[in-house]
Symmetry: C2
Subunit: 336 residues, 2 copies
DNA sequence: CTGAAAGCGCTAACAG
DNA sequence: CTGTTAGCGCTTTCAG
C-alpha cells in the first residue's frame, strides 16, 4: 500500500489509457485467450507506460485467495527453527506464494496473533509448543488447512515429525554398547513435544535393557540452563556416567559444567545432545542430526496441495534422524 | 481464506443476527464511542455466537493498510540473518502487524518476488546483497517506506548498519599488537556490503600502520569455502602469519585447513572471524560480535514510524560492534 | 472478442 | 446514536 500522498494507479487508469474496459485489462493481464492480440498489445503498452501494478488486496478479495502461507514457531534462536523455516520458505516462495512468520516465544498474546495470522493466509503450519490444541482446532475449524510440525497429531490434521523415538533408541543403544549403565536425562518433556518424544524413546530403550530409568531433570533450551542444571546434577552422588541432553545447547552447557568441575569427558562422563548444531562439531559432541529443511519442505508441500482443494486422507509422516558419533560419548577405535 | 466449501460469515450475517446495520457492527467492533451500550452488547453477543472474525482483506482494502511489514534477506543459514529477523519480528509483531519474509539467495526471480512482496506490506527492509539498487529504487518510488539494512545507503532511504569499519580496525590493531605483520584476508568484498566494509577497515588500518595490504582472497560464506580457500592460501609461500576471515564460518573452515596442514594455531597462524557464532566459543575463535537483534529492531521501528506517515529526515545509523578475543589470535596473559 | 455490472467484506462519510 | 450508501481494486458472469 503506497504511502499517503501517492495515488496508486488502478485498473481503471489503465483501462482509460488503453481505451478499453477494466474487464479487458484484467483479461489481458492474466493471459485470457479471449482477447484480440491488438487489444492485448494496447493494454500491455498502457500498463508498461503507467508502471501499473495490480493491487494484491483487490485481487485477493476478488478471488478469495491470499496466495500466502504462514508458519508459527516458538522462537528463532538456535539453528533448528531457522532451518525448518528456510526449507519451508524455499518451496512456498518457489510456488509464487508469500511466507508470513510468527514467533510466539511465550508471548502472552500468542493466541490472538495466531488467529490474526490465520486471517491472512491460505494455510499455515504450527510448530511444537506454541499455542494450545484448542487454538489449533479453532483455526482448523475455520476451514483453514493446517499442518502440524514437531507436534503431536490433533484430529484429522496433517502432521510431520522427526523420528525422536527411534533416534533416542539408537543413541541409548550406542551408550549401552559403551558399557554405561548409569544414565541421566537433561530436558523438560513438558516443554516440547520433541523433548517428550526423545525422553520416551530413551526410557523405552533403557527399560528394554533392564537398566534403571532416571527421571528427567527439567531444563530450558539454552546453554546457560544446561550449564546450571548439569552443575546441580553432577554435584550429586553418585554422579551419572552418561548424560543424555535434550538438545545440543543443553549438552554444550553440560560440557562446560563438567569442565569446571574437573570431570573428564568422556573418561568419567559421556554427554550427548540433539540437533547437530555447528558448535557440536567443535565440542566435539555426539548428537543426532535431523532433516530440518525437509521437515519444512514437506509441510509446505502438503499445505499447498490442501490450499488447492485437495482433500485426500490425513497425512502423517515421520522423517528419519541419525546418530552423529563424536568423542563426547566415549573413545572409538574404528568401531561404532 | 477458509477453504472452499465453508462459507465464512461476514459482517452482514452478524448485522442481520443482531438486528442492526453493518455500519453499527463495524463501529461496535472497533470500539467507536458512538454506539449505545445496549446495541454494542447485542452486536458483541452475535459476534460471539457466530464466531465471527472480520476479513483482513476486506479491512485492508477499505482502510488501505496491510498492517504488515516485510523483510528481504539473502538466506537463513548461519545465525546472523536469523537473529536480525528475530529482532525485527519481535517489534513488528508487538505492534500488531504481521511479518512477511523473503529469502532471495541467488534465486533468479528475486526481483519479481520483491516487487510482489512490496504489494503486500506497508513497508519493508531490504538487507545486504539481495537485489539491485534499481529494484530498491523502484519499490521506494512506488511510495513504500523502505529501510536498508547492512547495505549501502541509496538516495533518501533510511539505512542501518553494523560498524564494520571500526571493528575491522580494532581487530587489526589487536593483531598488530601481537606483532603480526604478514596478513591475509579471506572473503569476497563483492559478495556483500558487510564484507566490503570489513575489508575497507582492514585495509585502512594496515595502511596506517605501514604494513603491506594483501588483496582479498574471494571465498563464499560457508565452512567448506573457507576450508578450500584457506588450504590454497596456506600452501603458498610464504604463508601468512595472520588470517582475517570475513565471517566465522569461513574462519572455522580455515581453522580446519590449518589443522590438516599441521599448522599450529595460534603459534604459527592467527585466525579471526566475524559474528561470534556459537561454535566460535568452542573453536576457540577470536571474532567480532555484532548487535544483530538490534539491527532488526531499529529497522522495524523506523518502518513503523514511516508507515504511520512520519516523513522526518533520512535516518542513517551505525550500530557498534566489539571484539571478542579468544585464543585463535595468539596467547594472552591477562593483557589484551 | 468486449463491455457493463455485480459482487468480494469492510470502512467511512453523510444523513437522519 | 444508527442506518444508507459509496467506494477500496479487482475478477467474473452475463450480455452483446
Amino acid at each position: 500500500m503506497p504511502a499517503a500522498g501517492k495515488q496508486p494507479i488502478t485498473i481503471y487508469d489503465v483501462a482509460g489509457r488503453a481505451g478499453v474496459s477494466i474487464a479487458t485489462v484484467s483479461r489481458a493481464l492474466r493471459g485470457s485467450p479471449a482477447v484480440a492480440q491488438a487489444t492485448r498489445d494496447k493494454v500491455l503498452a498502457a500498463v508498461k507506460e503507467m508502471r501499473y501494478r495490480p493491487s494484491r488486496l483487490g485481487q485477493s478479495l476478488a478471488v478469495g485467495q491470499h496466495a500466502a502461507s504462514g508458519i508459527v514457531f516458538p522462537d528463532l534462536s538456535g539453528p533448528y527453527y531457522a532451518e525448518v523455516i528456510l526449507g519451508y520458505e524455499e518451496v512456498v516462495a518457489e510456488l509464487g506464494r508469500s511466507v508470513l512468520i510468527l514467533a510466539t516465544h511465550g508471548r502472552p498474546h500468542a493466541e490472538r496473533k495466531v488467529l490474526d495470522l490465520a486471517g491472512r493466509v491460505d494455510g499455515m503450519v504450527i510448530m511444537g509448543r506454541t499455542v494450545d490444541d484448542q487454538v489449533v482446532e479453532q483455526v482448523a475449524a475455520g476451514g483453514l488447512p493446517v499442518v502440524l510440525l514437531a507436534r503431536p497429531p490433533i484430529g484429522a490434521l496433517d502432521a510431520v515429525n522427526a523420528d525422536n523415538d527411534n533416534s533416542a533408541r539408537q543413541l541409548v543403544a550406542h551408550l549401552l554398547a559403551h558399557g554405561y549403565r548409569d544414565f541421566a536425562y537433561l530436558g523438560d518433556p513438558a516443554a516440547s513435544p520433541d523433548v517428550a518424544g526423545r525422553y520416551a524413546g530413551f526410557r523405552a530403550a533403557l527399560v528394554e535393557a533392564g537398566v534403571p530409568v532416571p527421571e528427567p531433570v527439567a531444563c530450558a533450551f539454552d546453554v546457560e540452563a544446561g550449564h546450571a542444571a548439569a552443575r546441580g546434577l553432577l554435584a550429586g552422588f553418585p554422579p551419572p556416567r552418561a548424560l543424555v541432553c535434550a538438545n545440543d545447547e543443553v549438552a554444550l552447557g553440560a560440557l562446560r559444567a563438567a569442565g569446571e568441575l574437573g570431570i573428564a569427558v568422556p573418561e568419567r562422563l559421556a554427554v550427548t545432545g540433539w540437533d547437530d548444531v555447528m558448535a557440536a562439531r567443535y565440542a566435539p559432541l555426539t548428537t543426532v542430526r535431523q532433516p530440518m529443511r525437509e521437515l519444512g519442505a514437506v509441510a509446505a508441500g502438503w499445505l499447498l496441495e490442501r490450499a488447492r482443494g485437495s482433500d485426500s486422507a490425513v497425512r502423517r509422516r515421520t522423517l528419519g534422524s541419525h546418530l552423529v558419533v563424536r568423542s563426547s560419548c566415549g573413545r572409538h577405535n574404528g568401531a561404532a
